[in-house]
């Protein structure tokens, strides 16, 4: 009786162990697979457009650096209330440029390079103009995208 019982017990324990561990196994395989299939937030491989912020985030006659992929882009709201977006990487030695209110220009602190608001290098060492990005307004939102 006891022998049969213990056998029976062992068997039911084994069944229990087997079924629970199969469930656990399925969970540990399916969990990564399902999470993998769940699309990530950034659902494109390459950045093509970035939300720079709301119009109200930008003061008139000021500039702000935003991140575009791995590159900084300077978004400027001019005195005349126009929005401009340009690469913020100085073409001289890759410093990050800034908007200089007094001059109404884009200025690089490293070697006093200056660009006008169309990105043209107007003085100092920069050899080339800054790359221009496109501004798209959607309601209150300002989007920056690469020029096609």
């Amino acid at each position: 009786m006891s022998d049969l019982d213990s056998n029976q017990n062992r068997r039911s324990f084994l069944k229990y162990l087997l079924s629970t561990s199969i469930v656990g196994f399925l969970a540990s395989v399916l969990y990564p697979v399902i999470s993998y299939l769940n699309p990530p937030k950034q659902n494109e491989v390459e950045v093509s457009s970035v939300l720079a912020g709301k119009i109200s985030d930008f003061e008139k006659d000021s500039g702000k650096i935003i991140r575009f992929g791995n590159k900084p882009v300077i978004v400027i709201r001019t005195e005349k209330d126009e929005f401009k977006a340009l690469s913020a990487v100085c073409t001289h030695l890759d410093c990050t440029v800034q908007y200089k209110k007094e001059l109404g220009l884009i200025w690089c602190a490293c070697h006093n390079g200056k660009y006008d608001l169309t990105g043209k290098n107007v003085s100092g060492p920069p050899p080339r103009p800054l790359e221009v990005y496109k501004i798209n307004k959607q309601g209150e939102n300002i989007f920056v995208s690469k020029k096609a």
Partner: protein, 359 residues
Amino acid sequence: MKKIVKSFYDYLDERLHLEDLVHFMGKKYVPVHAHSIWYYFGGVSLFFFIVQVTTGILLLFYYKAGPDLAFESIQYIMSKVQFGWLIRSIHGWAANLFILSAVIHMFSVYFEKAYRKPRELTWISGMLMLFLGMGFGFSGYLLPWNELSFFATKVGSDIAGAVPIVGESMKILMRGGPDVTGATLSRLFGFHVALFPGIFTVVLGIHLLLIQRQGISEPMHFEHLEQKEKKTMPFFPNFLLRDLLLWLVMLNLLAILAVFFPAELGHKADAFGSAPAGIKPEWYFLFMFQSLKYLPAHIIFIEGEVLGILLFGAAFALWLIVPFWDRKSARGEKNRLITYLGIFAIMFIIVLTILGWVA
């Protein structure tokens, strides 16, 4: 619960005559002897193949072939997609382990001379799958489009191009042009995810069908034994469950390898960049790569490399048709020559792989 399962089974049985199949499987026995362990490697290879198909399909959801996007999409899989790193690393590891277990499987069949009549076709289909597996490895290696894979593909296809007469057109066919470019990437991508899997599945089907039809090969010494002296084990459920157990162990191994030695990204391929030092092919090509390096530039009147390629080609061809020229084993006699050749081949492969590894 049991009732539902039973009624579902009955439903299927009524239409498909499953009873026959169960009966057939129950009648199947696997010989038990000192070298039984080798019987498992076929199943293990199958397991890795299934893993490859599954993870490969998963990778396809995010991978984008093309020189502008391939590397970036892998980067994306590795950093942005949840468990993307795991799926990719498992795919990479299972690829290597598949080749390894397939090679072990092949050598075990070779030494047992299990290819002898009537299993010649099983051997040939198996060898075809091994070659296809190498093709998978070669084509898949380029897909991340990083420096290492780019130059390894360049070197690899250059070697293929050295084959006399057909080499140049083979190289162009492989590269989709005279150079390794984005065209090569789309081409090898096509090979990797469509052409090879298609062929492989058909050959695998034939291989499995033959095994089921002919049963599992018995070792040669069984022929001299009485029927009751032959130790066996039922294929179902005993052998199949053991197979499953081994598969679980392998899955564990894969998970551990994938976490501790994940696939790396490398640096994006630059066609105009200089080749990084120490370009090596995947380890299973290493012994060939290394032996070609040791050959002198010229042997008598032909180029050393060309001679090497021809020799390897001849060796592979001989190996492929071994069931047809090993008449002795087919007659049930011992053939020591085959065994020595096999030992030589293994030693050669191991030594040159090590030399290539440390070089």
